[in-house]
């Protein structure tokens, strides 16, 4: 029997359903393959009172897989020339990512120039290092790697070392869409991880949301520190530099450590004599666990820090005018605090310790261990 040229094949309902399901299945498969390229955004969690004054570079959004890779790299000593020093060596979580030493020891057993800084809340910091010479986490990450006294292995060389590792091949694939392991991607992943290190769960934060009532000592210390009951300008003005919910204002000040500073600080960056001995104000969050203190770790205890500001401020050409006005005029050498005032302020400073941050497993070494082992 001849088939008519205009004969149409009748498609049954059943065939239609099967066909549709098949198409759906196909499109789901391709969607899943596609999502390994576009990794899920990582949800940043911070209180509204931190504000949104930060920049995430357009070419390095924070993704779950990028953070996962960055975290693995952060804890991997393979990124150093002797295979023993990772970022975490000098930035330990239980010390809010500082290391408890005055100066740090890198691969060649010589010490670094300055004290290791805490990495909490760097998303909001635009001037990194004690002298503010770096302006992004991407820029900063390669510097300790390059430094012969720190990790002594540029990122490109680390990338070469990781290239044959199947665990990293998978992590890079998940984070960037393919298995190309490059120094640039390594650094981007590290920066993503660092941006997630947010500390906002201390008793001080609970106080700000009305969920914590400070003790009398803590409240006195808080009021003194924040200048709440200041009746005149010549008062304790810690909050000028160390105020705001992030416990730092991004300023560069000479806080009177030396009459003639041996470390010129900011002056080395700006070449401006007026910047001699100026250093960037660091956050006081978690300060109880980030001893020793100052750019050269000269003070071992908070009491020594308070003693400095109270009784040992050194005058110089570049001493901060805010400290000078309040504490170094009329022949004084400090804020002249009483013992009780010092203890009160230290009680307040202890309110800034965020134990959830210090123990959050998301910020610690990868569960699977280094390189998946």
């Amino acid at each position: 029997m001849e088939r008519s040229g205009t004969a149409r094949r009748k498609i049954s309902k059943q065939q239609l359903v099967v066909a549709t399901l098949f198409m759906l299945m196909l499109s789901t498969l391709s969607f899943r393959a596609g999502s390994s390229r576009a990794s899920d955004p990582y949800p940043l969690n911070y209180p509204a009172y931190f504000g949104n004054r930060f920049v995430i570079p357009a070419d390095n959004p924070i993704t779950r897989e990028g953070v996962r890779l960055g975290r693995a790299l952060f804890y991997d000593p393979l990124l150093s020339s002797n295979g023993k020093v990772s970022c975490a060596t000098c930035h330990q979580q239980d010390k809010a990512f500082s290391d408890g030493f005055r100066f740090s020891i890198g691969v060649d057993s010589l010490v670094t120039r300055r004290n290791s800084m805490s990495l909490a809340n760097l998303l909001w910091v635009k001037n990194l290092f004690w002298d503010g010479r770096s302006h992004s986490l991407e820029d900063q990450a390669s510097i300790p790697m390059f430094d012969v006294h720190e990790m002594n292995q540029p990122a490109d060389l680390s990338a070469m070392k990781l290239r044959s590792d199947k665990y990293y091949q998978q992590l890079f694939q998940d984070a960037f869409g393919d298995r190309k392991i490059t120094g640039d991607r390594l650094i981007k992943a590290l920066a993503q991880f660092e941006r997630t290190l947010i500390s906002a769960g201390s008793p001080y934060d609970h106080y700000l949301t009305g969920a914590y009532t400070p003790s009398q000592e803590e409240q006195r210390g808080l009021d003194l520190f924040m200048g709440h009951n200041a009746s005149s300008a010549a008062q304790v003005n810690c909050s000028h530099c160390h105020g705001s919910p992030r416990l730092m204002v991004e300023l560069f000040h000479n806080n009177g450590l030396d009459k003639e500073p041996t470390d010129h600080g900011r002056e080395d960056v700006t070449q401006d004599r007026a910047d001699r001995g100026r250093f960037r104000v660091p956050t006081l969050r978690n300060i109880a666990v980030t001893a020793p203190y100052m750019h050269d770790g000269r003070f071992e205890t908070l009491r020594q820090v308070l003693d400095h500001y109270s009784d040992h401020v050194q005058t110089s050409e570049t001493l901060s005018s805010f400290i000078a006005d309040a504490a170094a005029s009329d022949g004084r050498s400090g804020y002249l605090l009483t013992d009780r005032q010092k203890n009160d302020i230290i009680a307040f400073l202890n309110m800034l310790t965020d134990t959830t941050f210090l123990t959050n497993p998301d910020f610690g070494p990868p569960q699977k261990g280094i390189r998946g082992k």
Binding site: N127, F252, R273, A274, S320, A324, D325
Partner: protein, 165 residues
């Protein structure tokens, strides 16, 4: 031979002096949404329209501050003021930055005489003397502000930008 040596040392010394001059003299930089970025010394400012304002500092004593109204500096840099301060130009702000990186902003209408009679002064002298170390060489004095948080000391730069939304 001696002549060459003499001329060479003169050149070197002059060069060194000139370098020393530019390295030491503080300047005020104006940039951003300007027709002409500026780098002003105290000398440059002394040749601009002057004003004097009486105001009380933190010591609660009245002083007389002398200098240039901030609006005149912006005018010299070609910022959209007066008749031009309308429409999109009203989404601009002036960010004043100090030597220690302290920053505070002003809206253009706060500074423009066609919007306000208040004067915000870029001061260079107090009571006819140069501003003291730690305050100068350039400081904002703004008696309209009851609190002094925007009386920025040791000003290094003035930047005009559009607000981002």
């Amino acid at each position: 031979m001696i002549r060459i040596f003499f001329v060479a040392s003169l050149v070197l010394i002059t060069g060194a002096l000139a370098f020393a001059q530019t390295a030491e003299e503080p300047t005020l930089r104006v940039s951003g949404e300007v027709m002409k970025p500026l780098s002003l010394t105290a000398g440059d400012l002394s040749r601009m329209p002057q004003a004097k304002i009486k105001a009380k500092d933190h010591d609660n004593v009245e002083h007389e501050y002398g200098g240039v109204p901030l609006v005149e500096i912006l005018r010299a840099a070609g910022v959209t003021l007066g008749k031009q301060l309308r429409g999109e130009n009203l989404a601009k702000y002036v960010l004043v930055a100090a030597a220690d990186n302290y920053q505070a902003l002003y809206a253009l209408p706060e500074l423009d005489p066609e919007f306000t009679d208040d004067v915000v002064l870029l001061a260079t002298t107090v009571d006819s003397k140069p501003l003291p170390k730690g305050e100068g060489p350039f400081r904002l004095v703004n008696p309209t502000d009851k609190k002094h948080a925007r009386w920025i000391r040791e000003i290094r730069s003035i930047n005009v930008h559009y607000a981002k939304d």
